[in-house]
């Protein structure tokens, strides 16, 4: 078995264990709720018989371990229960709202990598000089405010004062696009509507940048720190002694080893973005999982809350497995290793 495949299987196994742990944690949180879930679901006007019937139906009379067993069995069948808020299966609700959130987070992730890594490389190359200081202050500033503050500031500057970008939403009302995937960037292209595609991108930019800002700062800082460390290695000195161009040294010899620790942090930042998407979506009226999440939380809609958290944790675990594989791919010591990792 190739080392990368072995790593993949091992990571998937660990992820499965963690996912079961997450389901226990969510189940525990849902059961510490003060009051009777059946009573909350039915509202104050329900008769005691109705409450008793629903309690039996929700398995609330059985011991906690059995209740958890039922929950796990349902989840493994892909059944997250019915939302009390929309009266639809939670899986349907999530399938409707998740693509908008994923699209936002993915674009934000691309922006984070596309800006954060080059800034870090720049800072390392000009270590101790003014580009380095500027980038350090920028990084510290961007991580110093929650993304909803950046969202509000960006909206004020680039949607109201300089009306470059739209104020809210995913796409202008004039475009009627068939939703096949739920990802508007893909759906508009499938429809062959370039104008709508451009419109969707314009809607994406401000929320995605607001979401990415703190990640850009962190990625830049970390890349700088790793590059600086790599620059002190003997093989860099050797490359310099050979008279290679500084840009070639930076690109080939210093950047690649530095990228590996940065990737781990980028995986973690992705997790933070899944959470922060809740804040940015609220500011830009982005029709993603956040609006649904906050709505079901305010209504104490247990099935929907548990389903939403479970899906977000699953997304995060998948991203981390991908990040681990990327690292294994970039790192020849793992890629070519013959011993078990």
């Amino acid at each position: 078995m190739s080392p990368v495949l072995r790593l993949l299987l091992r990571r998937l196994g660990i992820s499965l264990i963690v996912l079961i742990g997450v389901s226990m944690l969510i189940f525990t949180i849902a059961r510490v709720i003060p009051g009777d879930p059946a009573r909350i679901a039915l509202g104050p006007n329900a008769t005691p018989e109705q409450v008793a019937n629903l309690r039996a139906e929700m398995h609330l009379d059985e011991p906690l371990v059995l209740q958890y067993g039922h929950f796990l069995a349902d989840v493994s069948r892909g059944d997250l229960g019915t939302s009390l808020y929309t009266n639809r299966p939670v899986t349907l609700d999530i399938a409707q709202f998740l693509p908008a959130t994923l699209e936002l987070v993915l674009i934000a992730g691309i922006i984070m990598v596309a800006l954060g890594l080059p800034l870090g490389i720049l800072a390392a190359r000009y270590r101790g000089r003014w580009p380095d200081h500027l980038i350090r202050i920028f990084s510290l500033l961007t991580v110093s405010a929650p993304s909803f503050v950046w969202a509000v500031i960006l909206m004020l500057l680039f949607a109201f004062y300089l009306p470059i970008f739209p104020i809210a939403g995913r796409i202008s009302d004039i475009y009627d696009i068939d939703r096949h995937t739920g990802f508007l960037l893909i759906d508009t292209l499938l429809a062959g509507n370039i104008a709508a595609f451009g419109d969707a991108i314009r809607h994406l930019i401000l929320p995605a940048v607001a979401l990415a800002l703190s990640g850009i700062g962190q990625a830049a800082r970390l890349t700088r720190a790793n590059m600086v460390e790599t620059y002190d290695k003997p093989y860099i000195e050797m490359a310099q002694a050979y008279g290679f161009f500084p840009s070639r040294i930076a690109r080939i010899y210093a950047f690649k080893p530095s990228l590996i620790p940065s990737l781990t942090i980028i995986g973690l930042d992705f997790a933070a973005m899944l959470g922060n998407a809740f804040l940015v979506e609220a500011v830009f009226a982005w029709p993603g999982l956040s609006r649904y999440g906050v709505a079901v939380i305010l209504r104490k809609d247990l099935n929907a809350i548990m389903g939403t958290v479970l899906i977000i944790a699953l997304t995060f675990l998948i991203v981390n497995v991908i990040v681990d594989l990327l690292i294994a791919f970039l790192n020849p010591r793992i890629r070519h290793s013959t011993r078990a990792t």
Partner: protein
Amino acid sequence: MIRAIRILAANPLSLVGVILVALVVFAAIFAPWIAPFPTHNGAVVDFAFANKPPSARNWMGTDLVGRDLFSRILYAYQISLVLGVVVLAIAAPVGTIFGLLAGYLGGWAEAILMRIVDVFLSIPPLVLAIAMMGVLEPTLTNAMLAVTVMWWPWYARLVYAIARSEREEGYVLAAEVIGAGTAHIAFREILPNCLPAIITKMTLDMGFVIIIASSLSFLGLGVQPPTPDLGSMVAEGARYLPDSWWLTVFPGLAILIAVFGFNLMGDGLREVLGVDE
């Protein structure tokens, strides 16, 4: 101590951080005396001055019911700082104990404790706090509880990583040879070597706890009105953009200043205490 002052003086950014933090702490403690309108931290209305832009009377303008925004921001700092201190005072020791035990004992303790930590870390921090606030009543105490529950695993992981490498050091072996107990080695021998990293992280985390707590109240899941909170102030004001810009800009900047201060200070501490990133 002298070395610390010298490093701070040589590093103007850290000095700025210390000054910002000092200002924020001062503002919070003495809010009742500094605030031009000390009664405006509660449910006061003064419609004659409602929704006014910044002026000589109200430096940061007034909110929709005429309360002085500057006074409310000072009081909001009280809430933020108390929340940060309480959360870290619980999360850091709990996480440290978990991390020390897992790192020093190894074996089954390590496997079980660190898998529990993994579970917590695999839910985005804010989402876990949001989910907890979903089932709890939105009060200050519950917000502290929710943030603490999501915070301790980070300390467990940090301390675990240090303890695991320290376990192999000579001084630990020496302590084991002379028959020291597990608790003694974990808390008296290994813990002191974890302290610089823990203290640095706590300083940086003060800022991040303020961010998470304000995020909760921004979503309406934290401290409830009329208690002033920076997050809910931004949320309230965001509906009146761009005309009443001061309603969101000043509370937003207030968060930025406080967190920026703690970040700069933590960054400086990292150098003083010689902690790796």
